[in-house]
Amino acid sequence: MLLALSTPYFSQSAQQDVALTLQATVLRPFISTQERLAESRIRAQPIDRLQAQLDSMIEVSATRSVLADENRRLRELLGLSERAGPRLLPATVLRPGTPGSESMFLVDVGGDDGVREGAPVLSAHGLVGKIREVRPRSAVGMDWTYPDFRVSAMLADGSAFGIVENVRGAFREADRLMLNGTPYHETVPEGVLVVTSGLGGIYPRGIPVGTIAGTAEVQGQWLKSYWLRPAVEPGSVTHVLVETAADGADLSSLFPSDSVSLGEEGADRAPEP
């Protein structure tokens, strides 16, 4: 029992060594199974054929076809990836589904592919999270539901800046994003897009974080906070792009306004009134 109680206090490197060893041995078959399942879903049909079929089957697939839904997401990512060039690396997301792993995910790209610690993870709709640990052929990421998530953000037109942070809900699915620290005199209407500002050096400028969904609180007569409708619902993300360059470039051109639809991925997590 004493040994068990001491495990949370192992050094970070010791914890990583133990986790890595177990993932590479005992858990390898199970992780591989999830990887193979994800790959088989992707390769179920050639992408080109699916793309051709998608347009004619949109009515049916919009309601029922998981495969077509997968294809649509891949097309969106493909479009984003082509716009970004080699700086964004496509990856498949694996979620362990074990207690304590709710905010983390594994991606099937790692240090050998150019992934670095702290690299932003994006979907076609916006910011998913960032990479926390890098291994040679895989990496561990945290999505925005992680309690310490913070990102410097601004309104898309640059008229106000603030910090977006995770706010815990009464239960996990009720976690929300809040834009803090915007000027009191700046009234932001609902629906305005909030993007990363590039300040702080972790997240490049121009990645959609969410849209304004109402005033959260007013602090004195100085600051206002706003609830955000997240651009990305992390639980629904199966494929992402990991940024490999750390040059602080502006990525706003990758997300033209017509691509920043919050339809499916971000609509479900509506803020509390």
Partner: protein
């Protein structure tokens, strides 16, 4: 316990270990799948000594912690505590009535979730009511149902 029964128990535990990770990690079912790992630990804890139960709990917890980078150690502590508590129930509760088996799996799984909730740390800890009372109770009920079925199927109950 006869040698055949002992072997059968460990084969069952190994099977539940595999099933747990195939369903939770391999297929990514998450809470949709029962917590076979805790059920296996509770099964084995009734048949072995405190030390062995603690060791099995420690090993199971450590494997789960390998996938929970943000709260490393929480599962290890929880599973070790459940293993020890399960082994002690042999001395406290004699007999394997249906009511006891249901209560045993329910309490064991709920205790596992409660200890994990305590150990997971402030930054990751969800509200007590949601995490422990609502989700914990549902998970405990799920484990109790599956545990009772397993005991009945594999003849682990002395009553059967």
């Amino acid at each position: 316990m006869s040698a055949a029964r002992r072997w059968g128990l460990w084969v069952l535990v190994a099977g539940l270990f595999l099933a747990h990770f195939v369903l939770h990690v391999g297929l990514g079912l998450g809470r949709g799948a029962p917590d076979f790992l805790t059920i296996a630990l509770l099964l084995v804890s009734r048949e072995v000594g405190v030390g062995t139960a603690a060791a099995v709990g420690f090993a199971f917890g450590l494997v789960e912690d390998a996938l929970s980078v943000l709260a490393f150690g929480a599962n290890t502590v929880a599973m070790t505590a459940v293993g020890i508590a399960g082994a002690y129930t042999r001395g406290l509760f004699v007999g394997d009535s249906k009511l006891f088996v249901v209560s045993y799996f329910f309490a064991g799984k709920w205790m596992r979730d409660f200890v994990h909730w305590v150990m997971v740390g402030n930054e990751l800890r969800q509200g007590f009511w949601d995490q422990v009372m609502v989700q914990g109770m549902i998970g405990a009920f799920y484990a109790a149902v599956v545990g009772v079925v397993l005991v009945a199927l594999f003849g682990q109950s002395r009553e059967a």
